[in-house]
Amino acid sequence: MKYEVYKDIGVTDDFSLFEFFSKGKNGAILKRVTFTRTEDGRIYNLAFGDVDETDDLDDYVVTDNGDRNKVLATVAFIVEAYTRRFPDRWIIFRGSTQERLRLYRMAVGLHLEELSVLYEIWALGDAGIVEFCKNMKINAFLIRRKKS
């Protein structure tokens, strides 16, 4: 797995928020990644999207900036850094639309072997929590750092 990533990332001191610029055919677009504690205090929700004009996170917008893989690789890098700092936290994520969930499923499936070196990768499906395998129908991902 060797994709380009955006190498300058802004962060809060508690690692709950990250920002970087996507630079592509539509110009520089500010992206934001957040980790928010869910009602189950062991699990943090990953949200990701563009920063809109009111400084809110818009995770439905289609940016089409021509750098999708670089943006996804940057988000994956942020997850790696976050889970290095908080190895006991579970991360839940899914797409804001079915198309995005399918994209994430494909991306994780494509790199499952490498990602499994670092993470436990589970799927939330209708049957509950099961180990993720390629092409599985899921509602969300649930991941955590493997214990070293």
Partner: protein, 53 residues
């Protein structure tokens, strides 16, 4: 003074610079994607199986 940390990926070896942003620090604690968080909580509430050990 800027607070900068360099991270090297364990998966790819790529190095990235993280800079603490005072602008972002002001947003700490604010739920920035409330709908997505609500959906995650809803999914987790419906779970019939416990988290893996």
């Amino acid at each position: 003074m800027k607070r900068v940390t360099k991270y090297k990926s364990e998966l790819t070896g790529t190095e990235v610079t993280f800079t603490v942003s005072e602008k972002l620090n002001k947003l700490k604690g604010k739920v920035l994607a409330p709908k997505k968080l609500a959906e995650a909580n809803e999914l987790l509430r419906k779970l019939k199986t416990p988290l893996p050990k």
